[in-house]
Amino acid sequence: MKPLNTFLLIAPAALLMLGVFLVPFLLLAVLSLWTLKPGTLSLDTSLTLANYARLFGDTYYLGSLWTTLWMSAVTTLACLILGLPLAQWIVRRAGRARGLLIGLVIIPMVCGALLPTLGLVNLLGPLGVVNGALKSFGLITSSLPLLGRPIGVIVGLVQAFLPLMVLPLITSVERIPLDYEQAAMSLGARRVTVWRRVLLPLMLPGIAAGGLLVFCASLTAFVTPQILGQGKVVTFASLAFQQASRVLDWPFASALAMVMLALLLVVAGLGAAVARFARRQA
């Protein structure tokens, strides 16, 4: 193919992503240095770090940041614990059911953030399935408050983002030839030892990739936390959403967004380091 034709084929998609996706990210950095003129919605375009000062000077924002961070960490860990047995089963044992299982796993992904969360409200709510069932078995008399608490939000996040963990894990388990396990067993290793010494190191790249995706998604989630947190669990992304969409203080929302982006880059750097380490070990 002639280079010009190649370019013409690629250009429309590339230009769209450049203009509509990449450029806004760059403008975000500038916008976060602007402010709103007090009492108005018009922009003061002189550059200042006021938004960041306001953010880091207020325990409300810092508390929300802390809540978001630890909830994301717990979500990531939970996804890993649930995802490992599932991914390994799908690759090693599912046989012909494998396509069906992967299909089930991706359903929460393609249903979007809203519909599963609606279901979760009816699952975890005071009159919901969990409380209703526990009551009818006589295990509790008054409803457990699951919504409006971090536990409810975390359950929602794990449910929403588990596929992001499972799919990379499946890929990494697929890359491990069955021979390795059989070789290790023929050398006298017990199954637990095979898993710890052979499989786990080889799965580390998948774990790092999946963990990164889940952590980033949790850190920036706002639909699930808003609905399941019922305003009582305020995550950082919900704050940014409120500032951008309700308060209409875009510069401050941009500063919040920039902080999220910076956190993600730090975490991604750590993830890449872990993956590199894993490759060297493997």
Binding site: M17, L18, V23, I106, P108, G119, W250
Partner: protein, 263 residues
């Protein structure tokens, strides 16, 4: 292989994890049949009244229509752009291939919320916030990476000797594309269309920032209503139908196109 206690425990774990993963959707569908104004478990009575209400509501019909049109237009645009780009990247093998791939796939890893905040302010400043154009551009942007990933894989798997064979048999480049490349890429095109449509239709994260009052998609309407008024059982019934349609698309896609293998 012989069943052992450890294998049994493993199997039970897998079933529980899958149950957890699918429970919210199952509950959503189940609760749509509760006759009460507020879902309670176990329900006192079952009925189809919320489904009837869903079909009767002009308001919801309108937002579902908006969602459908938006998803349809965005899907066609995203899959077309992604397919052309994938063909250029794979067959043209330009030196900038890696950079363009990173650019096209970036939205899969970068946080959409952060982007949506930036997009909102840009849209507002150029005056397309809340317009169909703004929504369509945004939806193409979130679905194009998914389509591009599937199409790059699809075209990479088409043996170039098919195209060379057609050429040596006298097919012009245009006919090579129409008679050989396109038919062989069809499964990938269907798969990426299905995924793009579902993601666009069900998106709430990005749309909720930039949807206007006259162009309100169904998920955005439900989300904003939820925060002010709580759950309207009608939306549960509609949600159940959307879930059902989604399951259908994924099942058909899996059966015909091995959808899960293409992600």
């Amino acid at each position: 292989m012989k069943a052992r206690p450890a294998d049994l425990a493993w199997l039970i774990t897998v079933i529980l994890v899958l149950a957890f993963l699918l429970a919210p959707i199952a509950v959503l569908v189940f609760s749509a049949f509760d006759a009460g104004n507020i879902f309670r478990f176990p329900p006192r009575a079952y009925s189809l009244r919320w489904f009837e209400a869903a079909f009767a509501s002009a308001e919801y019909r309108r937002s579902l229509w908006v969602s459908t049109v938006l998803a349809f237009v965005s899907t066609i645009a995203a899959v077309t752009l992604a397919s052309l780009a994938a063909y250029g990247l794979v067959r043209g093998r330009p030196v900038y291939r890696r950079a363009v791939e990173v650019l096209l796939l970036a939205p899969l890893t970068l946080p959409l919320v952060v982007w949506a905040i930036a997009l909102l302010s840009i849209y507002a400043s150029i005056g397309i916030n809340g317009t169909p154009l703004g929504l369509i551009l945004a939806h193409i942007t979130i679905t194009l990476p998914l389509a591009a990933r599937i199409m790059i894989a699809t075209i990479s798997q088409i043996d170039p000797t098919y195209e060379e064979a057609a050429e040596s048999l006298g097919a012009t480049p245009a006919r090579v594309f129409l008679r050989v490349t396109l038919p062989l890429a069809m499964p990938g095109i269907f798969a990426s269309s299905a995924i793009a449509f579902l993601v666009s239709f069900n998106d709430v994260v990005v749309s909720t920032f930039i949807a206007g009052a006259s162009w309100l998609t169904f998920p955005v309407r439900v989300f904003s209503q939820l925060r002010s008024e709580g759950i309207d059982p009608t939306t549960i019934a509609i949600g159940a139908m959307i879930v059902f349609a989604t399951l259908l698309v994924v099942a058909i896609g899996e059966r015909l196109l091995k959808l899960s293998r293409r992600l």
